[in-house]
């Protein structure tokens, strides 16, 4: 029979799963540029979360923990991606559009062609530039935390961020 603490802990874990799963999937998808691998990595991350939750429940910020584990998992996955490419016979394949995808106001404003070009431009960034841009601008982490997470200096983070923004912004300027 489960105790009240265990039930409460499981409920918190499930709550964390519900609230954080979409964010981690999006983060992995942006880092890996592959929807299928992003799903796999996210599942691995949440398996680790469950194990960590059961063994050590003293972590202060589970969101930050999930981000760090997801970034590291994406690093590992990217290192072995050449083997997956060889084995599966597919280059970085992106997800298809959802069937119930409705055009958003942003889509109407930009147009699909511009979105496509922006994604193409985003894929041209180096892995490090992509990581810095995602963590700093999409995830909204402070510069120091990004530097700590990636194991680089804050100056390096700023430099990568500038190059990423310049590269992406140039596309909008040219359009």
């Amino acid at each position: 029979m489960k105790t009240a603490i265990e039930i409460d802990a499981n409920a918190s874990c499930e709550s964390l799963f519900r609230t954080q799963y979409p964010r981690i999937v999006r983060l992995c998808r942006l880092l890996l540029l592959d929807a299928y691998e992003a799903e796999e990595v996210t599942q691995e991350v949440f398996e680790k979360l469950v194990r960590q939750w059961q063994s050590d429940n003293t972590i202060v910020s589970w969101e930050a923990w999930l981000t760090r584990v997801a970034v590291n998992a994406c690093h590992d996955r990217r290192r072995s991606s050449w083997w997956k490419w060889w084995r599966n016979g597919r280059v970085r394949t992106q997800t298809d559009e959802p069937k119930d995808h409705q055009p958003t106001p942003e889509e109407r404003m930009l147009g699909l062609e511009q979105q496509r070009r922006l994604w193409s431009r985003f894929q041209q960034l180096s892995p490090r530039q992509r990581e810095v841009f995602i963590l700093r601008r999409i995830e909204g982490l402070p510069t120091e935390q990004v530097a700590n997470l990636l194991g680089v200096t804050t100056g390096s983070v700023k430099r990568h961020l500038f190059h990423a923004v310049q590269h992406l912004q140039k596309m909008l300027g040219d359009y």
């Binding site: 394949t93 942003e106 930009l110 999409i138």
Partner: protein
Amino acid sequence: MDRCLPKRALLLCAAGEGTNEQLLHVATCNSCQRRYLRFVRDLETIEQVLRETPPAITVTPPFLHYNRWLPVTAALAVIIVLVWGWRVQQVSEPLPSVDQAAKQEAIVRFLQDEVSPAVFLVTPQREFIAPAPVSDARYLEAALTDGWPCEWQSAAFASTCEFYPLSLTFVKR
């Protein structure tokens, strides 16, 4: 700070990495403010696209599937050929050397036993009859009649003789 900010500083300001001094300048300089707001707007657009829209599909061209295996297949083929050649070389033994005198003798025996009877076959049923040469009288007679004697013509055709270059081939059985 009196001078306008360079693009790098403005981009970093728009990305949230500007210093207080730079941000103060942006707040007071119309030109920099206009550029800064444009960068902020562009960044918001980029972030919105990356957050909300799925990436475009990039499908591997079918020929890449074949091209990827092509070098492997070629390497395997080369390895198979090399192994096969090596095995053949290992298995095959050198042919026994033939004595030169025995070889000559075998050739001579073959010529005697097989070739000679075939080329110089003389059977009792076949008999070659050489035609008789024409006499001088026949030449004289032919000259008087404004003709030409049948040379080396067999007797069977002498009466109706005409020039016939292949007359030597006629035989009488």
